[in-house]
């Protein structure tokens, strides 16, 4: 119809595609999801074991009490909330990549958006566990923290940031789940059509009976765009609200207006790093190099670099304001962070989040997958320590010197933390095994269009 459009500069970029649209399904799905590298099973077993470990630790904690954690007075929040914020943060990149970049029509997103979305869903799911792990009476928390009628005739406190959290996280989980699943529906239909027997039945059920008719696509596209538009502000709101958990209390080191943007930037940084960390090995395990291209990964690293510099700026501003405001308690906390007993975590955070990512300015580094991978893992470590640092160092020594204390995570907390990683990776790997890791229908859109002309061209080339 419009052949001029097909020879636009985009097609020049498409030159790098070595595969065609018709290769996608067989390449990604194979005989219903390609047979993974054996390392996949090792990874899955390891993840499941860690998850089990964390589960046992949690069970112990429920039976014996929160005393099993290393928490104390004054450090009432510790590793659990660190993990909560960390995982919520991880979740952010998914929505950013799938929703915001969808609206911006960034083409590199199409190959990794599925993995980013899945990461979001599982990360938020993991994050959602932590408030429950963290509370003293989990058997009541789930019931009383939701605004449902109860025998006490008492509602929830809508002035509490934790209730904001409840709403923000549950909305975020629901919306990202819907968004992810909506994208999956056409691909599930592909899976259904490639499989037999029980699988076919299950995939058929999951695909809602999608047949790919133009009418379905019409409403689907509209809905998808609207959902992307709805999800976009969530990227900013969720971590802002999580940051208010801290910013709304008057704890020095927490009570800061910069927290929302600072947290959002940090979240995207950690999310992008996590996407990279996840996609690179799985791309290898499932031989998806043809579909997830280095360009796409490099674009992800660029985004990482950008957010890293935002985060670095936020650190600096935080310090500057703590000093400039003349707030005595605030400045004491910041001095303590940098030089106090918890300074190790602070400097880990600074180096991992601000210094090492600077290497990504170099294209060679960005193209060198192993080095980039190390940097991304370091960023993840750094972001975890950023939350740890914010939470712990503000709590140990606050207003009244007489009540200062110290904190050291207990084995239970460490086990649950390891368990959360296991839990996350376990679901992610299961997902990878049973669902398409790249969005088939969207990937096809960015590949060379199956035009008659190009087809003839191709056949001419191959015959010659």
């Amino acid at each position: 119809m419009n052949s001029a459009a097909t020879t636009s500069p985009a097609s020049v970029r498409d030159d790098r595609w070595k595969s065609k649209v018709s290769d996608v399904n067989s390449g990604v799905l194979g005989g219903v999801i390609a047979k993974p590298h054996p390392s996949f099973y090792v990874a899955l077993a390891l993840a499941a074991f860690c998850a089990l470990l964390g589960g046992v630790a949690w069970l112990l904690q429920i039976i014996f009490g929160m005393g099993l954690s290393g928490l104390n007075s004054p450090v009432y929040w510790g590793v659990y909330i660190t993990n909560f914020v960390f995982w919520v943060g991880i979740g952010h990149a998914g929505t950013l990549i799938s929703a915001i970049l969808f609206l911006f029509r960034a083409k590199w997103r199409n190959s990794i958006n599925r993995s980013a979305e899945a990461m979001t869903v599982f990360a938020v799911m993991t994050a959602g566990l932590f408030p429950l792990i963290h509370v003293g009476r989990v058997y009541l928390a789930a019931y009383w923290m939701a605004p449902i009628p109860n025998t006490n005739n008492l509602w929830v406190n809508f002035r509490s940031p934790l209730i904001w959290d409840v709403f923000a996280i549950s909305t975020y989980l629901t919306v990202s789940l819907l968004f992810w699943y909506m994208g999956l529906v056409p691909d599930l239909a592909s899976l259904r059509d490639r499989s037999r027997g029980l699988r076919r039945f299950v995939y058929g059920l999951l695909s809602f009976g999608w047949v790919g008719s133009l009418k379905q696509w019409h409403h689907y596209e509209t809905g998808y765009a609207l959902l992307a538009a709805l999800a976009t502000p969530l990227v900013l709101s969720v971590h802002s609200i999580v940051s208010w958990d801290f910013a709304m209390s008057i704890q020095p080191g927490w009570h800061t207006t910069i927290f929302p943007p600072y947290f959002v930037a940090g979240a995207i940084l950690s999310g992008c790093a996590m996407v990279y960390t996840l996609v690179v090995p799985i791309r290898k395990m499932f031989s998806l190099e043809h579909f997830i291209k280095e360009d796409h990964l490099e674009a992800c690293l660029k985004l990482t670099l950008l957010t890293s510099s935002i985060v670095a700026y936020a650190y600096a501003v935080e310090f500057f304001i703590a000093w400039y405001s003349g707030a005595f308690y605030e400045w004491s906390i910041f001095k303590l962070r940098a030089y106090g007993p918890y300074s190790f975590y602070f400097w880990v955070m600074v180096f991992c989040n601000c210094v090492f990512p600077l290497l990504l300015w170099s294209k060679r580094v960005r193209r060198h997958m192993a080095v980039s991978m190390v940097i991304c893992v370091l960023i993840n470590v750094g972001m975890w320590f950023e939350r740890y640092n914010i939470i712990i160092s503000s709590l140990v020594e606050d207003f009244i010197p007489g009540s200062w204390g110290h904190y050291q995570p207990s084995l239970t907390e460490i086990a649950i933390t390891v368990g959360s990683f296991g839990w996350f990776f376990m679901w992610f790997l299961i997902f990878v095994k049973f669902f398409p890791f790249v969005s088939l229908s969207e990937l096809k859109l960015v590949m060379p269009k199956p035009l008659k002309a190009s087809d003839q061209e191709l056949s001419a080339q191959t015959s010659s």
């Binding site: 119809m1 509602w155 009976g209 047949v211 709805l230 999800a231 709101s237 096809k444």
Partner: protein
Amino acid sequence: MQRQESGVLALFKHLDEFATAARLVQNKSGFDGHQVYSYASYHELMDVAESAYGPSPVRWLTLMGSLVGCSVGFLMPTLMDYDWPLVVGGKTAGLNSAIPNVIFMFELFVLFGALATIFGMLWFGGLANPRARIFDPRLTDDHFAIYVPGVLMDSEQSRYLRSLGALELKAV
């Protein structure tokens, strides 16, 4: 088992040919109730859909859902607060402390909007249809198709489709 209508399925492989074909059969007589199938939402096809179905009503559902969510997000905290007006942190209940309601308004705006969108997309797409007819597994792989119901293989319509570039015709 429901009665399955028989018809002809014309399979295409090339987007340009198919887009033209879909547009041409759109208003042609003898193609009543035809369905167009694709494995991806190519712009060319979406343009055809736009002209065939007009703007999607999903938008309105989204708007409705969002507005409902927004008002629920305001009313729920306010009314619940007045049900038992407790003072916390020197803040009195209800409208006096309505600032955080913005959060609930926003969150429920998004949540209800998203739910309505999904609902609309499914509803208008005729989805959640456990007995959908799957004509050919290739339709979700790399083939486009036009299905014309109530038509035989050697009919005028079939020939027309073949002339438009259909690689294969199937009686289903």
